[in-house]
Each structure stands twice: as C-alpha cells, then as structure tokens.
C-alpha cells in the first residue's frame, strides 16, 4: 500500500514504523513542492486520525492536535492568550489554505517564515511526538532545529502541540509584515503575550519570525518589559539592541537584511503597543 489513511493513531504509528513514508496532512506545502499530478509516495495521511484533529482543554494544558487546521484554530474556544495564534491563523495564506493547512504541518515544514511559530513560542508550546517506542515531548524551540529541519526522527509522528496552563494567561497580539495583503510569505512577524498583575507586566513573551533561521524569543526584551505599566508606552524600555542581538536576518527577494533588522524593531514595538491598547 502506498497511501495509508488510518483513523486510529496506533495504526498510523505502526504503519510508519514499517514504511519510509511522507507524512501528509493539509498538503499545502507538500503539493506546492510537487510537480506531478500526484504526491510521490508512500504517503501516510493523518487527516482522518481523530485524536490528531481535536483542540481541547485538558487538566493542566491545552492540546492542539497536529492535524487541526488553521480554521479549526480560529473557531476553537480558547482564552485571549491565544489571540496571537488566531491572528496568525488568519494570515496563513488564504481561506483555502487555512481550511487545509494544519498546525503540525506548519511546524514540520519548518520554514523560517512559518506564521504559526512565533505565537506558539510565546505560548511556551511543546510538541508531542509519538512513535512505536512511545511518546516524547519537546519544547517547540528544540523541535525546529533549522530552516526546513526538525528533531523528528524516522518513524516519529508529530501528534499534538501542547500549551501549558500557565501560558493561557495574559493578552496576546501578532503582526505580520508582507509585501502584499493576502497569500504572502512574511518579511518579518512578531508575536507577543503579556501577563498583567495589578496593572503591570508580570510576564512578557515576545517572539520574532522570518528574521533568523528559526523564529526566536527575545529574552532581553522580555526582561526589560517586566514590571512596566500595561499602558501605551509599554515598549519604551525596549532598545533596538535588545531585539537585534537575538536575530540574524538574511537578504532575500522579499527584503534585505538591514531592512529586516529595522522592521523587526519597529514591529516589536507596534505589536507590544497593540497588545495593551
């Protein structure tokens, strides 16, 4: 069999152990890279695996099935801390792409410009990976190891994204900069999540995408924000150096490196201000 579409996770994992297969979900990246009329196989299609599709609140975390589509994310009942993720979901390609493309696919494709990664980084997300030898979890920043590279080993399947309960607190925002309105690959993007305590920033999570080989959290910025009043002007203590030090932008057809560095600074400030106003 060269195309397998199970409904049970165990069947998927068993088959994957025996077949060197491509794991397919929304196929928005796989088919885009395919020149022929069919996906080259063998193919493990995980879109019918019920356990991988659900978005649910569990005892101490949220679980987003890896095969949940961006439309599923948009429609899910999630706290406002996930608003950055929802804003990103709206910016993934087009409605057509959001209806097919999945959260797990976005991570496994590991594009430096993946829209889902910065907001998930600000949600302190980890990934759940299953194989015949069991289940392991990894922090998202440890899962994506480079452009188009992940820690997924042969026989392993990304089954879910996990967001710890603590990360469900606060307000979030996401801003994407692209050369056009729809269907556009980001030049840069920023996600933030700010947890408020008595009118001040108790915890800040800030991540930038498309300005380094893998999207990055900005620890210096997060530290500087701590204790700041949660009002307009919250970004004032953030310096360009705090942002630039965490990034390594490149020059490509969309923008040059110098521009990306500058734009990242401006976007970080705007995304922060947008989160508090």
């Amino acid at each position: 069999m060269t195309y397998f579409r199970p409904t049970e996770l165990t069947d998927a994992i068993d088959w994957l152990a025996d077949n060197e297969a491509r794991i397919a979900a929304g196929c928005t990246d796989l088919f885009a890279a395919e020149t022929g009329p069919s996906l080259k196989g063998p193919v493990l299609d995980v879109t019918a695996v019920t356990a991988m599709r659900k978005i649910e609140r569990l005892a101490d975390h949220w679980r987003i099935g890896a095969a949940a589509t961006w439309t599923d994310v948009l429609r899910a009942d999630l706290p406002v801390a996930f608003d950055g993720l929802k804003l990103a979901a709206r910016e993934v390609g087009s409605v057509q792409i959001q209806n097919a493309g999945t959260v797990g696919g976005n991570l496994c494709n590991a594009s430096p410009a993946a829209d889902g990664v910065p907001p998930l980084l600000t949600l302190d997300a980890s990934v759940e990976i299953a194989s015949k030898s069991g289940v392991r979890t990894l922090l998202l920043q440890d899962f994506i190891t480079g452009p188009r590279q992940t820690a997924l080993a042969p026989g392993e399947l990304l089954t879910a994204v996990l967001v710890p309960e603590a990360a469900g607190a606060g307000r979030a925002n996401f801003v994407k900069l692209g050369a056009r309105k729809y269907l556009v690959i980001s030049i840069a993007m920023v996600a933030v999540r700010l947890v408020e305590l008595e009118g001040h920033v108790a915890k800040a999570a800030v991540a930038v995408g498309a300005c380094s080989a893998v999207a990055q959290r900005l620890p210096a910025v997060e530290k500087a924000l701590q204790g700041e009043p949660m009002v307009a002007g919250v970004s004032v203590p953030v310096t360009d150096a705090m942002i630039a030090d965490a990034l390594a932008p490149i020059t490509d057809i969309r923008a040059d490196a110098e521009y990306r560095a500058d734009a990242a600074c401006e976007l970080v400030r705007r995304t922060l201000e947008g989160a508090v106003t």
Binding site: Y3, F31, A32, V95, Y182
Partner: protein
C-alpha cells in the same frame, strides 16, 4: 509513483461519483481528467492562485492541494454545481448573473475560483461587507479586472437584477451591455487551452535548459525512449523539417522551437517527450539523456554590452537594434533653460502572470495540422508554425482557444510548434499544458529598462527640451525588442509640448528570459522616468504639479517631437477631470500629515499617451459579413478576445453601422480557416482597427441592402426568416433572400472590408506619422506611506482616460481597473528573477487586498479617424499608474525611488536618503 488506484466515491455536485484513481492524485486532476469537470481551472498547482477552488463539505479549498483520497466520502461542489437547482437546469445562479452584470469576468480563467470562494461566503453570510468579501476572495488571483467589479458583483449577488435588454437598432454604441461571450465564462463551460483534447491524445512535455546559457548534446535518445515506461516518442531539433527560426518580426526571426546545440536562456526547450497521459505526467525528466556545458552567462545589459561572446554570433556587441527620435538641438536648449532636472530609473523584468499557463492541443485533419491553443495572434501563429514545420500556410489551421489572459505574451508562439511537431510526426492528436514554472521560465516578459533623462523648462514653466536614453534588456531572442526600441523614443516625451528632443532606445541581448510585448511595449517604463522628472521640474518652477502638466500638454493642431500634427488630444480634458479631486486630496493630505505620525499621505499625478496599432508599418484588419439564405447575419470576427472585449465591442460597432439590433448578429471565429485576418490583439488596436473594419463592412452591407431595396439612407433594416425587411417611414419592402445566389462562402449577401491605419514611415530623425490614432489619460493616486516600515498602501486612484468614444463603458472601466492593477504591481511588487521567482508565491502580483478604490472617468474626445470616434484603450490605462504612485510616495515622504518595484526596503532606504540619514 502513486499509480496504484483505489476506488473512491465522492458526492460531486449532489451526485454520487465512483472512480478508480490514485489516492494521492490532486483532486483538481481527478475532477478534470477523471470526471470531466473542466470548469475547475488549474493555474499554479501550488495554492498560490486559487483558480482551482472548490468546496469540500461546503468549505473552499484549493483542489490542486488536496489528495483525492481526502475528498472521498465528502461533498464536493464545483462551478458546474452552483447554478440554479444545482446547475442541472442550466440556469445561472444569482451570483453568476451578477458577475455578468458587473463585468466581473474578463478573460474568465479565475472566474470559477472566484465564484466558488464567493459562494462559500454568501452561504454563510448573505449580506457581507466589502471587507468580508475581500477576505473571502483574497486567495484567488485575477490578472484582468483589478478586482473591483468582482467585489461589486459579490456584494450585489443578494439583489438579483435583470440583465438590461440588448440595445435596439442604432443604440448599441455607448451601451453598457454585458459581454456577449460572457455566459460560458461564468458557467465554467468556456474552453481554454487546457480544456479540450481529442480522444487518445498524447501528452507532451518539454525538456528545458536549467542554465542561462549552455551548449548541450544528447545521449542515446532511442534507448531512453525505449526503456522509459510511458514514453512513446522523443523529438529534438533534428526532427524539425522546416526553418527552425520563429519570431514575431520576420526580419529578426531567430528563435528556435527546439534549441540546436545551444540554449540561450533558462527554460529554453531542447527536446519533447510524448506518451500516455497518466505515466508521462508523473515522469521525472531529470534522467533525460542530455549533457550540458554551461557558458559564461550574463543577464544584465551592462555585462552584455561588455561581453566578448555575444548571445548571437551575428549580433556582435549584443545590440539587437535601436530607435531614435530627434527634433531641434536638445542639448543646446537644455543649456539655455532656466531649470533642468535629470534622473535615472531602473525597472525589473515583469511577468504577465495570466492565470492560464500556456496550453493547447493539436491534431491532423487529412493533411491539415489543426492547433487549438491560447493565443493573441492566430494568423501569426499559423504562418510561423508552418514555417518552422516546413508546411504551406494553408496546411496549418489555428483555432484559438479562449485565452485565460494574454497581455502581450500570448502574441509569441508557445506550445504551437511543439504540439504541431508531435501531431505532424506521429499522426496522433496530442496536448500540452505548461506547468506554472515552465510558463514563468519560457514566456516573454516586460523589458527591464535602464533609463536616463534630462528635461528643461523656461522661467514660466514651459518645457524647453528633453533628452532620454534607454537600454532595454531584450533577453535571449528578439521577440518584440525592435518594437520596444522603436516605440519608446516616440512616446518618451509624454503627451507634452517638447520643442527640442532627442530620445534613444536600444534593445540589448542578454541570457535572461526573452522580453516581448507587455501592455505598453516599453512605454510604461519610459513614462516612469519622464513623469517623475516632471514632478521635480514643476517643483523647480514653483508650480502646482497638475497645473504644470496642463500648461505643457499637447493641444489639437500641435506638432509632436516626431513631427506629427495631432487632433483630438485629450490630455487637457483628462487633467481637468482630475482637478477637483486633486485639490481635495491635497487638502486631505495636509490634514493627515500635520499629525506627523508614522503614516504619511501622498498625492501624485501622471498622464500618458499611446499610439494605437503598429508603429509606422501596416497592420490591416479585415471583417467579413455574410447573410445566409435563411436570413441570418454572420460576423466573421478574427480579432481574438483575450478578455478585453472585442467579441462585444466589434458587434456593437457593427450593429450601429449596419443599423440593426445587436441580437441580429451571429459572431463567428476566430479561426484561420473561416475568419479573415484581423491581425493581432495588441497595440490597443482591435477596437480601433478591427472596429473600423467592422464599421466599414457594416456600412457597405447597409448600402447593398438599401440599393437592392431602393430605399434611402434613413430606412430601417431588419433580418427575418428568409428575408430582409426594410422600412422607410410608412413604406415597407422586403428582400427575398431565397431568390439570391450564394457566393463561394455560402452567403447570398456579403460585405468584406479592410482597414489599415494611415501612417507613414519615420525618417532618419524619427520624424513621420507613426500612428493614426492616439489614446490619452491621466491618473491621480492617493496613498499612505508608513515611514518606519517603507510600506505603501494605495488608497484611491482617480483615472481619467480619453477613449474617443466609449463603445461599451462597462468594458472600458474594466480595462482601466485591470490596467491599474498591473501598473500597481509593476510599481510596488513585481520583479521576475530568472531561477529565483519561478512560482506565484515568490513572484507576487496584486491581490484584492492590495487594490485601491478606483474611480474611472471616461473622456470622449471624438477621434476623426477611429470608428464612431473611438480610440484604443487597452494599454494607456496602465502607463500613468506607476509614475503617479512614485510621485505620491515622494509627495508623502520626499523619497525618490529610482528602482522598481518599490519594495518596502527600497522605499525605506529612499526615505532615509531623503532625510539625509
């Protein structure tokens, strides 16, 4: 390869369909190839264009991205299923009718995708806002319309309107009628290049050069052909019996259909492979036995001009040709001028990016080779294909498929000689559909230009002189390079009095993609520099920028820098039509900018002119009319409608010239076997030149009918079963058609008229009368620039275009809105880089969300030469957009952008330069 098949059952348009197919096959392929539902269009196979949008369980998805297996057991809705009662009764849905009413379908290739995306929205939200419509259709690209009429149609779908009655006799010209060929476009039944093939057709694929420049040799082709499953035939240049050199301008024709030992650009075809469809589609061609020896390539004209080894051995120095216009002593006049500005501009390769990749089918009928493919120029296709294949012209018949956009690139041959060769050599029908990457690599582009100019003015703000020099990167083969080199010096001064002028343009070969015709033939590039310099000059003179243009605009009776006396010049009228908004917009900008925020408002204006038809050389159109013994009136219309509307506009002109209702006209063609030559659809010439031939033919047939019935000029004519009824006042007579003898074409009455624009050649100084009719226009752009990010958001464009006579205002507006979309793309987004942007997610064209509100103002300054006073329109609509945008950016920020496209990083760098940082 996933050729293993599974039995899949889907509910398609309410009907259960079971098909054995590879489960990993694209759903789009399953729908089109296995289920015959060709209303679903494939534009990119990557989710970038949305043309293939269908609904799966009600949700829009790109069917090119969904494995067929995922659709099994689900409800799939295609364009064939959205009409009344699930499409089964042939009625159009309200949405489809709204598309027709609003002129939302031009070429029609994106229409099914648009309809599906909008259908999904309207089912959930029957009364959406404009923003919601844009979000819903944001994933479908359209290259023709500029999107405004599509959004209007979706918003209006909830109000089912009635199509206006077709105009009666004498009322057609000026009527805002729906396009006459529109129903198949909105029903999904239009037959584009990829939509028809005879039973058993071979699938044809090309092996293309991966190098900008390389010599090559083949290995054992016979063995590879024999040993590769699915491959039945391999052809190379050695199989071509004719003269393997084509080109749109015979004197320069040198492009091989299949390269001979040396490939001169990346994507040039060197061999063809033909075989059974399913296997050949999956075949990996990387194992094809060809060895490449890459050369020292260059893709920039500066390097080409200095190169030791030219692209073509017989064109040393790489200069293909040059054009020049000179009047007076421009240098001396500049020296004596009170104000002189000078500047440079660099523009990029721009891709036509029609949503339909090149496609077609070929078959033999006896000894006649028949080719049905997308094209803008059927007769040129016929002649060049016959030449390459070594056939008499009469042995090639071109039946143009509907063209899913053209914009100049489908003037040149693409699939025609390739599928022609396979059909001829094998005797079997065949078909070929370019992948998007193939289309991008191998099709022609807008010439990248490197321009320098100086313009002077006297103390009163009157332009004194201009010099302009431009190098146009014409790529590896000539194509329309000579036309660009000729047109640019003529048009570069713009529609302004320029007493002393010297303009030169060169077409320079490189190993880049072939540059050809693209809406404006180099004039848009030149206008970017001239019109931005005009802003600087107006500033130097201390004048309002619009007033400066008005002062210098050419007037009726003025003589141009190329020595032609002009009549019916509409520039002043166009500028005047913008004045009220100009003043409002400037006042508004002052208010916005007083806040000193990060977003600055800018206002810009630019004007344009454009000579319609070929430059100084004949380009006749012939229209034939015939009346059958049964009383039917046939219009043999060889002008290819690529979406611009000639299938509607030419009948409108004919109807009024003949004096009949438009519903009396049956339009036939284009088909080289049955329609006389109407030339190519380019140079803004079809409404003017073919329209004029239609007018002449209509008047001639009217005269014949009046003569036969002995009636006067004011008589009314009506066609009826077997007779023509002529009424003059209270008197009435008939012509009994059954008593007349039929001619060789089977017509009992006929008229055939040819019109060729009255032009003259240009002398050694470029002086003469290159065009008989010009179109004019001016556009006003209002935009916001984010001065921290360099991003530009165009808010509103007011576009005044002098069309002489608006034969169909609805279609004219569609041309303006679509031209602006392409002008905006050229200004802000589009840059084709060979080897880099070979898909539609790296090569970006505007989406619906990038388009401003457009207000079109049609100026009708009747032309003494054009039919019913009409002038051409198709090209001048995009010329002012890019310079007006740059002028508005400079107005907002002081930034002088001198390289297109004005991507955010370039704009930001220019802002910082202007700030002295």
């Amino acid at each position: 390869m996933n050729v293993e098949r599974q039995t899949l059952t889907l509910v398609v348009n309410g009907e259960e369909r079971t098909v054995a197919a590879p489960p990993a096959r694209r759903l789009s392929e399953l729908l089109r190839e296995d289920l015959g539902l060709k209303g679903t269009k494939v534009g990119c196979n990557a989710g970038d264009c949305g043309a293939c949008t269908v609904l799966v369980d009600g949700a829009p998805v790109c069917s090119c991205l969904m494995p067929a297996r995922q659709a099994a057991g689900r409800r799939v809705t295609t364009v064939e299923g959205i009409g009344g009662e699930g499409g089964s009764d042939g009625r159009l849905a309200d949405l489809q009718a709204a598309f027709l009413r609003h002129g939302a379908a031009q070429c029609g290739i994106c229409t099914p995708g648009m309809l599906m995306a909008a259908t999904s929205l309207l089912r959930e939200n029957p009364h959406p806002s404009r923003a919601e419509v844009k979000d819903a259709i944001g994933g479908v690209l359209c290259r023709c319309t500029g999107y405004q009429k599509i959004v209007d149609a979706v918003l209006d779908a909830a109000h089912p309107g009635v199509a206006p009655a077709l105009p009666g006799a004498g009322e057609a010209v000026g009527a805002r009628i729906e396009r006459l060929d529109g129903v198949p476009k909105v029903a999904g039944t239009e037959v584009f290049g990829a939509d028809f093939w005879p039973e058993g057709a071979l699938w044809v694929r090309a092996v293309r050069s991966p190098h900008h420049d390389a010599t090559f040799s083949f290995g054992d082709l016979d063995a590879w052909c024999r040993d590769t499953p699915g491959v039945e035939f391999v052809f190379t240049a050695a199989d071509i019996d004719g003269d393997n050199r084509f080109g749109v301008i015979p004197a320069f024709a040198e492009q091989p259909a299949l390269a001979e030992g040396r490939a001169r650009f990346r994507g040039e075809a060197v061999a063809l492979v033909a075989g059974e469809t399913a296997s050949l589609g999956e075949l990996d061609l990387s194992g094809f036995p060809v060895q490449w020896q890459p050369g020292d390539d260059y893709v920039e004209p500066e390097a080409a001009l200095a190169a030791e080894r030219p692209v073509h051995d017989d064109r040393p120095g790489n200069v293909l040709t040059s054009g020049m216009v000179r009047q007076g002593d421009a240098e001396a006049a500049l020296s004596a001028s009170a104000h002189v500005v000078d500047g440079a501009m660099r523009t990029a390769y721009v891709e036509h990016a029609y949503i339909e990749p090149e496609a077609g089918t070929a078959w033999m009928e006896g000894d006649v080779l028949c080719i049905q493919a997308c094209t803008q120029a059927p007769i040129m296709d016929r002649d060049d294909t016959a030449k390459v294949l070594g056939l008499e012209k009469e042995k090639v018949r071109i039946l143009p498929a509907a063209a899913g956009g053209g914009f100049g690139s489908k003037l040149d041959l693409s699939v025609q000689p390739l599928i022609g060769l396979v059909a001829l050599k094998t005797g079997r029908p065949c078909r070929m559909v370019y992948a998007r990457s193939e289309s991008l690599m191998s099709s022609t582009k807008r010439h990248p230009a490197t321009l320098r100019a100086r313009i002077g003015a006297d103390a009163e703000g009157r332009v004194t002189a201009m010099t302009m020099e431009g190098d146009f990167n014409t790529g590896a083969y000539a194509s329309w390079g000579p036309t660009v080199a000729g047109r640019v010096p003529i048009h570069a001064p713009g529609p302004y009095r320029t007493p002393a002028y010297e303009g030169r343009a060169r077409a320079v070969h490189t190993h880049g993609p072939v540059s050809g015709a693209f809406r404006g033939f180099g004039v848009p590039q030149a206008a970017v520099l001239q019109e931005t310099l005009y802003d600087e000059l107006a500033e130097a003179c201390g004048m309002d920028r619009l007033e400066f243009r008005r002062l210098n605009a050419l007037r009726d009776g003025d003589v141009t820098a190329f020595g032609q006396e002009l009549q019916a010049v509409g520039t002043v009228e166009c500028l005047d039509a913008l004045r009220t908004r100009w003043e409002e917009a400037l006042a508004l900008a002052n208010i916005v900018n007083a806040e000193q925020g990060p977003v600055r408002r800018g206002v810009g204006v630019a004007s344009c002119w454009y000579g319609c038809g070929n430059t100084s050389i004949p380009n006749p159109s012939t229209i034939r009319l015939g009346v059958t013994a049964e009383g039917r009136l046939r219009l043999h219309q060889g002008a290819v409608d690529i979406g611009q509307g000639s299938n509607t506009v030419i009948p409108q002109i004919l109807a009024d010239a003949l004096g009949v209702g438009i519903d009396a006209i049956e339009c036939i063609g284009a088909d080289t076997a049955i329609t006389p030559d109407c030339g190519k659809t380019s140079g803004s010439r079809q409404t003017y030149v073919s329209g004029k031939a239609a007018e002449l033919a209509g008047r001639a047939l009217r005269q014949t009918i009046l003569r036969l019935s002995n009636r006067g000029e004011g008589a009314a004519i009506a066609f009826d079963a077997g007779r023509i009824v002529i009424t003059e006042g209270a008197e009435r007579s008939e012509i009994d058609l059954s008593r007349l003898e039929a001619d060789a074409n089977g017509y009992v009455l006929a008229a055939e008229e040819t019109y060729d624009p009255p032009t003259t050649g240009l002398d050694q100084n470029g002086q003469g009368k290159p065009y008989a009719v010009f179109g004019y226009g001016a556009q006003l752009v209002e935009l916001d620039v984010d001065v921290k990010l360099g991003t530009v958001k165009v808010r509103r464009i007011t576009a005044a275009h002098d069309v002489g006579r608006a034969i169909n205002p609805l279609l004219a507006e569609g041309q303006i809105e679509g031209g602006i979309a392409q002008g905006l793309g050229m200004a802000l987004l589009e840059e084709y880089l060979p080897g880099v942007t070979e898909n539609l997610h790296d090569y970006l064209i505007p989406t619906v969300g990038d388009m401003p509100e457009i207000q079109s103002i049609l100026i009708e300054k009747t032309d003494p030469e054009g039919p019913m006073g009409a002038k051409g329109l198709g090209e001048h609509v995009l010329i002012p957009t890019a310079p007006a945008i740059l002028n508005a950016i400079r107005h907002a920020t002081g930034a002088k952008v001198t390289r297109l496209p004005a991507l955010p990083h370039r704009v930001l760098a220019a802002i910082r330069e202007a700030e002295g940082r």
